[in-house]
Assembly symmetry: C2
Homo-oligomer: 239 residues x 2
DNA sequence: CGGCCTGTTGATGCGACTCAATTCAGGTGG
DNA sequence: CCACCTGAATTGAGTCGCATCAACAGGCCG
C-alpha cells in the first residue's frame, strides 16, 4: 500500500487561483490557503475517506479521478459524483456535524490538496467572500443532486445516458453538435453505477444508441452523430 | 385566486428566534431580519415559485405544508422535499445564478415569511454567523439529498417506506419503539410521489406491512408495531 | 343525490436486474 | 514473442418489481 505515485511539485498558490471556490479572494487569503493546504497522493483504489467518519477536512483534486459513493451492505454501490481534476470534494462535510455523507475512492493514481477542517473554518469566518463562494458552490451541488433525483425517479436508463452524453459534450466543447467527440472519463462499469444502473444494462443501451445512429464509439471515445435524437431520448419519461 | 386565507398577526422576531437558520444571531441582526421579512399567505394548490424562474428570495413556512417538486412534461412529478411548519425552503436558490431548482406548491392553506434576496444577501455578508448557519443548513440538505439518491438507486419501495416510517417516528417522538404513533402529514398520493413511486404501489406495500404486523393504520395515523421488522426491511437492498 | 377526489384491489406488460457464458484488452512472466 | 491471467465488456435467457390500465369503494361537498 506504499504510495508509489510520484509527487509532482505544486505551485499551490497558482493552482488555488484557478479554483472557483477561491475566485476573487484577497491575495493574502490565498496565501493563507496555500499555507494550510497539504499535498497528498493516493494510489489507485485507495480510500480517501469513509462515509460516516468525522470530517477531517476537504479536498481539491489535482490529478486523476475520484468517485464519491454510497454503498449497500451487499456491496452494490451508487456513485453520487465523479470528480475530475480541478474540482473540490468533501466541502459539505466540514460544515456538518454528521461526518462525511459518502465515501471517496481514487479511481486512478491521484494527487490532491487537503485542507484541514479547523484551519479552513477559521479562514471561512474571516473572509466573507470565501463564505459566499462556498455557499455558491454548495447551491450548485444541491442543484445537481436535485436533477439526479429527478432523473432517477422520472426517467429511464436511456434518458439518463442520453442526458449524460449531452452534458459531457457541452462540458468538453461548450456546445452540442454532430461530430463532436469526447472520452469517457471512467470505465463503463463506473459510469453505470453513476447512472444508477449496472454495466450490462448500460452495455445494451449503448448498443441500441449505436444501432439507431445516435452515437458512435471507438475505444471509449464517443462521437455524437444525432444530437436531436439524443435530446428527444433525454426528454423521454418512464414508459 | 384571491387569497381568502385569514392572515394571523405574527410576532416576527419571536418566530425567527426559533428557526435553526437564525440561531445564535445577534439581537440587532434578528431585528433587521424581522424588518425585511414579509408575511404572505397562499391558498391550497397555489404556486409559490416555479422551477427555473429567477430566485426572488427564500421562505420560512409558518403554517401548512408545501411540496417541492420536479415535474416531467407529461405531468408526472417527483417530490424532492415535503416542507412542514418551521422549516425554510428556497434557501439554495438565493445563492445560485441558475434560478429555483424546483417548483414549490402549497398543499394546504399556508402562511409564510418571505425574505427578499437582495436584503438577505446584504445581511449575509454582514453577519458571519448567519453565513455559517446557512452553510450548515445547506450541508444538511445535501446530506439528505444524497440519502434520497442512495435510497432511490439501491433500495426498493418497501425499504424506502420503512425508512420513512422510522424517520417520521423518531422525528415525532425522538425515539423508535413499539406502539408509538404519528400522522401522515400529507395524502398518500403525495407521499408516494415523495418516495419515488405511485399511489397504487404505496397502497399495496402498506397493505403488506399491515398483514406482516409491522404497522397498523387508522385514518392516516400510523402505529409502529414491529420496529425491528421495519429496520430489517429498511436495510434491504434491491432484490 | 351526484359529482369529485383519494384510496384500494386486480390483471397485464415492460424495463431492468440477475445469473451465466463468452469475448476482449491489458499486463505479466516465462 | 507467445501463453497466461485478470478484469472489463458484451450477449443471452429468465425473473421480478413496479408502472400502467381499469374497475370500484368510501368520504366530502355543493
Amino acid at each position: 500500500m506504499a504510495n508509489k505515485v510520484k509527487e509532482e511539485p505544486v505551485q499551490k498558490k497558482k493552482v488555488l487561483r484557478e479554483i472557483y471556490l477561491f475566485s476573487g479572494l484577497a491575495d493574502n487569503d490565498l496565501e493563507t490557503l496555500a499555507q494550510i493546504a497539504i499535498n497528498r497522493i493516493f494510489s489507485k483504489e485507495a480510500h480517501i475517506f469513509w462515509e460516516g467518519r468525522e470530517a477531517q477536512g476537504f479536498y481539491i483534486l489535482l490529478k486523476g479521478h475520484v468517485k464519491l459513493v454510497k454503498s449497500s451492505p451487499e456491496g452494490k454501490e451508487y456513485i453520487i459524483r465523479l470528480v475530475g481534476p480541478g474540482e473540490t470534494f468533501g466541502e459539505a462535510a466540514v460544515l456538518a456535524e454528521s461526518g462525511y455523507p459518502v465515501s471517496a475512492t481514487a479511481l486512478e493514481d491521484c494527487q490532491v490538496l487537503f485542507f484541514p477542517k479547523i484551519d479552513f473554518l477559521d479562514l471561512l469566518t474571516a473572509s466573507p467572500r470565501l463564505a459566499r463562494n462556498m455557499l455558491a458552490t454548495m447551491s450548485h451541488l444541491l442543484f445537481h443532486l436535485t436533477r439526479q433525483l429527478e432523473d432517477l425517479s422520472l426517467k429511464e436508463v436511456s434518458a439518463r445516458l442520453a442526458r449524460y452524453f449531452l452534458e459531457k459534450c457541452r462540458e468538453t466543447h461548450g456546445d452540442i453538435a454532430k461530430g463532436l467527440t469526447f472520452d469517457l472519463p471512467v470505465t463503463k462499469t463506473h459510469l453505470a453505477a453513476y447512472l444508477g444502473t449496472i454495466s450490462e444494462t448500460l452495455s445494451r443501451t449503448l448498443a441500441r444508441f449505436k444501432s439507431m445512429g445516435a452515437i458512435a464509439e471507438d475505444k471509449g471515445r464517443i462521437t455524437i452523430n444525432d444530437p436531436t435524437l439524443l435530446q428527444n431520448i433525454a426528454q423521454g419519461t418512464k414508459s
